[in-house]
């Protein structure tokens, strides 16, 4: 039965259910300046995974926290109650918390915390719709939002995940593919410096396969990073006039 469903993820011509080749990412759409009231914000769509991240601050750190000559990054990830096919809040809180921790880990290496000592920068994410690859979408979107807010960063962070189903490596999996994976890899990379800020791997991988998967992910991140880099520049002109994200739009092919 498990095998059957696995087959169902790939069509006879080797493409995936959404006509992608295994090593293709979904059409992505990225835009900064989604939330006008925030210091910086970004909106990202990877297929039908949609997230908004806004950045506030730097603000004074809470008194209870110990003195520190470097700044703090405060990350919080939330899901809308209709983000997933099944409505409900049960169990989601734990996921939110883990995502918040992983987001923090992926970003802290890229943000120059020395540039805002004794203060805190808030990174808040809201997943409007979840269809696989939520965490990489949040990380990529958050690094754009940080850049939009003018926080000093060493580099842009781009992230991507990959599922291993049987012998196939599926880049940027959908929710359906994620539920049937034998293993997964998530990589967040500072794209210009080619340094991995966060990596997680689950399932059983031979060394060669693991390195193949890591290479695949880092290449994809690289490409994503190049296009992400363009976004803040493109949108700077738009921010002055009318900067609200537009949901009905022609998707950008990656």
């Amino acid at each position: 039965m498990v095998l059957e469903t696995q087959k169902a993820l790939l069509k006879s011509d080797g493409t995936r259910l959404d006509d992608r080749l295994p090593t293709y990412v979904r059409p992505a759409f990225l835009k900064t300046g989604a939330v006008k009231v925030a210091a910086g914000s970004a909106y990202a769509e990877f297929g039908s995974t949609k997230v908004i991240v806004s950045v506030y601050g730097p603000r004074e750190s809470k008194k209870a926290q110990a003195f520190s000559d470097i700044g703090r990054l405060n990350c919080d990830v939330k899901f809308t109650s209709f983000a997933t096919p099944l409505r409900g809040k049960a169990g989601q809180d734990i996921g939110d918390k883990e995502f918040s921790v992983l987001l923090h880990k992926a970003l802290e290496g890229a943000v120059d915390l020395h540039s805002f000592p004794k203060t805190t920068v808030d990174v808040f994410a809201l997943v409007l719709q979840s269809d696989g690859g939520d965490l990489p979408a949040i990380i990529t979107c958050a690094s754009m939002a940080l850049a939009d807010a003018g926080i000093v960063m060493r580099d842009i962070v781009a992230a991507i995940s990959l599922s291993c189903v049987g012998k196939n490596l599926l880049l940027d999996p959908t929710y359906k593919e994620e539920t049937q994976e034998d293993g997964s890899v998530m990589v967040a990379i500072m794209t210009s410096r080619r340094e991995i800020t966060q990596v997680t791997l689950t399932g059983e991988w031979s060394s060669t396969k693991a390195s193949e998967a890591l290479e695949l992910c880092s290449d994809a991140c690289q490409k994503l990073g190049e296009s992400v880099f363009l976004v803040p520049k493109v949108c700077i002109e738009e921010i002055g006039n009318f900067a609200i994200f537009q949901l009905p739009r022609p998707p950008l092919r990656n």
Partner: protein, 317 residues
């Protein structure tokens, strides 16, 4: 003496204003900044006092819901989604379904919201929304009934504020109404025991044939999917009172500075669903109230046509 002092400080402000950059003046003397605009009957964003911001409604944005809508009122953005679940109706109202309204202000929407417990404002708006929807005839809960006393729909209406830039109730109410307009009740099958099951569109085509073969015994009754028949859509207009001025649809900046707020909700030109004025430094006279209602009447027409347009574009897609 006090009066002199006050006028003295006002003239200082004027002097400073002439030699100061606009943005700095806006930050240091927000009240004087706005008052200067108001005196020449215009708003900082160029609107006349009584006009609402450009409004934009898009239906059916979230495929994981049974009905959804995205509403933009200037910068204020609301995303509403309705999800249906099966439930047993309460004994008091056996032929009615339920609606559960949850208004959320996630921390992304405003610098004043922190993660953790919901903000006081969010609670108050949530309550206002529930009351307005209960008082208006928008949704007859009997439409959510499937079989009287046995099964009904419970509609979870969740509204998320993505960008809080004033007049939140107006936008939230519009988003709720639009999401309900977009709501599609799925087809269900009811078997002999009264057990209700949701039928996906593919199964629906197969099922009747099977039933015909097996005859009477296992025959299930189908209740076709449909959209709701809604009553007149209530429309809210937030008005700010300041001295002699009356501003419609304020931004967050205006709300923070001017303080006195009055929200009118109408669902037809003569039917008042709610009039909410929580304190503030300016008292409302009968004529002010009438002015606010008049502005809301104009807005009612405007919003109804926006909603009509949105449904049409949605159907065309």
């Amino acid at each position: 003496m006090a009066v002199e002092e006050a006028s003295g400080s006002a003239s200082v402000v004027k002097d400073v204003a002439s030699s100061m950059e606009v943005e700095a003046f806006r930050r240091l003397f927000p009240l004087q900044y706005i008052e200067r605009y108001l005196d020449s009957a215009v708003r900082p964003d160029g609107r006349p006092l009584g006009r609402a911001r450009p409004t934009d409604v898009v239906l059916g944005q979230v495929p994981t819901t049974d009905g959804s809508a995205l509403v933009r009122l200037g910068n204020t953005t609301m995303l509403a989604g309705v999800k249906l679940e099966l439930c047993v109706p309460s004994a008091e109202t056996p032929d009615q379904g339920r609606i559960a309204i949850d208004f959320q202000m996630p921390p992304i929407c405003s610098p004043h919201v922190r993660p953790g417990r919901p903000a006081e404002d969010a609670c108050a708006i949530n309550e206002q929304l529930s009351i307005v929807l209960a008082s208006s005839q928008l949704l007859d809960l009997r439409q959510l009934s499937i079989t009287s006393g046995k099964s009904a729909w419970v509609a979870y209406l969740d509204i998320y504020c993505l960008n809080a830039d004033g007049s939140l109730l107006d936008a939230a109410l519009l988003a709720s109404a639009a999401a309900l307009m977009d709501l599609q009740i799925p087809t269900v099958s009811i078997n002999n025991d009264g057990k209700v099951q949701i039928v996906s569109s593919r199964e629906k085509q197969d099922q009747p044939m099977v039933d015909a073969e097996e005859g009477q015994e296992t025959k299930s009754k189908f209740v076709e999917g449909r959209s709701l028949k809604l009553g007149p859509v209530p429309v809210a207009l937030t008005c700010m009172l300041h001295k002699k001025h009356l501003l419609a649809d304020p931004t967050a900046e205006e709300e923070a500075v001017l303080q006195t707020v009055l929200v009118v909700v109408l669902d037809s030109p003569d039917k008042l669903i709610s009039l909410y004025k929580p304190g503030g430094q300016v008292v409302a006279t009968t004529s002010t109230v009438m002015d606010c209602i008049a502005l809301t009447r104009l807005r009612l027409k405007e919003v109804h046509s926006i909603l009509e347009e949105a449904t049409q574009t949605h159907e065309e897609d």
